[in-house]
Symmetry: C2
Subunit: 213 residues, 2 copies
DNA sequence: TCAAAATGTGAGTAATCCTCACATTTGCAA
DNA sequence: TTGCAAATGTGAGGATTACTCACATTTTGA
């Protein structure tokens, strides 16, 4: 929730270039650094991870750490990049040979399950991608807000579809709402034209789910 | 991306209780503090916001700031809470008198537009809720990853629905993918049972959109 | 009127990130 | 082998910044 010193006011430049390990020895050390960081993130979260602790656990000096990683975020980024590479391979394998609708259903369902299990089981992944990181209290507020808003939707749905299971309506409304927030956040992250398309697509999708049509 | 000192290892306790302004004078000062924080967040983002700067702009001492806000995050939280309160009122008004499917379509569509416009226009809201805040570089990585994964889906969809506009397929796939990530993140934030329901609901919703059924 | 409560202040404390000047090791051409 | 440049290793210290605290001032209410 704030960057430390030294970081000049230049802002997130992804990660200024640092030496990349060319010798066997340094490659092993970098692996140890990443392993140490991973363990610490699993234990306490990336926010609480201290650079000094990473260095100590990896058995290297703080200076060595900064020899290969420009800053703290770069370490988290490196871990995240590995996970994305792995998961892309997995996704590619699952989807490339899909030929019909039934196959897509199968493959998609499995992929979602895998993703879900991964998030449940891997604290590091959870930490790194938890809404692309976040403030605990803010996340709570957001969830509570989303739930409250979903309630208004549930009230409407109960009137429109009195024969549907209320629990299902609840789930649907909550999900639709949360996805709306995700859709809007996505939309503002891309150029305006694509953003507009995404928001429209979300509306169609959500309404199809809500009123079925 | 890291908490400063003093914060003992107790972890996010939402915001330890601080004095709440009871006199007119202090209420006005607290308003000034929030306004200053809001302006600074709009200018540089909440990460770059410095407590000293907030105090200076509000025309109060650093000590006064901490008299009413337990820590830096509490200020952002207070701003976020206001926005959620406002938006809830708006949502409630829009949805309470919906009586039929057509009315829901209208109201929902309008709400989404309002939300979208709000995010586009208000830097503070964008900052506070940008995935519940985040690391720029990580967000980039996530988006790139999501896009790459969506491509695999697009390839499949092009085979299954060769007559649909490719741009639409692209949009759908990207959206579906991003929502899957949102759904999983949501699922792990709630208890297991509800999480499972949400993931299943997402699958149904996504597949209905992808293969239409 | 005046004491207690509320509020205001800002220099100082405690971390923490990151740098840098200098030491050590490795790769490799002569 | 030798020697030298490049790569790598080190950790004390610089630079910031969130947050505290002992004390001053103002407001409240009996």
């Amino acid at each position: 929730m704030d960057e430390r010193t030294a970081a000049k006011p230049d802002q997130a430049v992804i990660g200024s270039p640092r030496r990349s390990p060319s010798q066997q020895r340094s490659r092993e050390r970098v692996e140890r650094m990443l392993a140490a960081a991973s363990a610490l993130i699993a234990e306490q979260g990336s926010d609480a991870m201290r650079m000094g602790e990473v260095a100590e656990r990896a058995g290297v000096s703080i200076g060595s750490l900064y020899q290969f990683f420009p800053d703290k975020r770069a370490i988290v980024w490196a871990l995240a990049e590995r996970y994305t590479a792995e998961s892309q391979a997995c996704i590619s394998a699952a989807l490339t040979d899909v030929r019909d609708a039934e196959g897509l259903k199968q493959a998609f369902s499995e992929l979602v399950d895998i993703y879900y299990q991964l998030f449940l089981a891997e604290p590091v992944i959870r930490d790194v991608w938890s809404g692309t990181q976040a403030d605990k209290a803010l996340r709570e507020l957001e969830l509570a807000d989303s739930r409250a808003n979903a309630e208004f939707l549930v009230a409407v749905l109960k009137r429109l579809r009195p024969d549907t299971d209320p629990l299902e309506l609840e789930t649907t409304a909550f999900l639709v709402w949360q996805m709306g927030e995700a859709a809007v956040r996505l939309a503002i992250s891309v150029d305006r034209e694509e953003g507009d398309r995404l928001v429209e697509a979300y509306k169609r999708m959500a309404l199809r789910e809500l009123v079925g049509a």
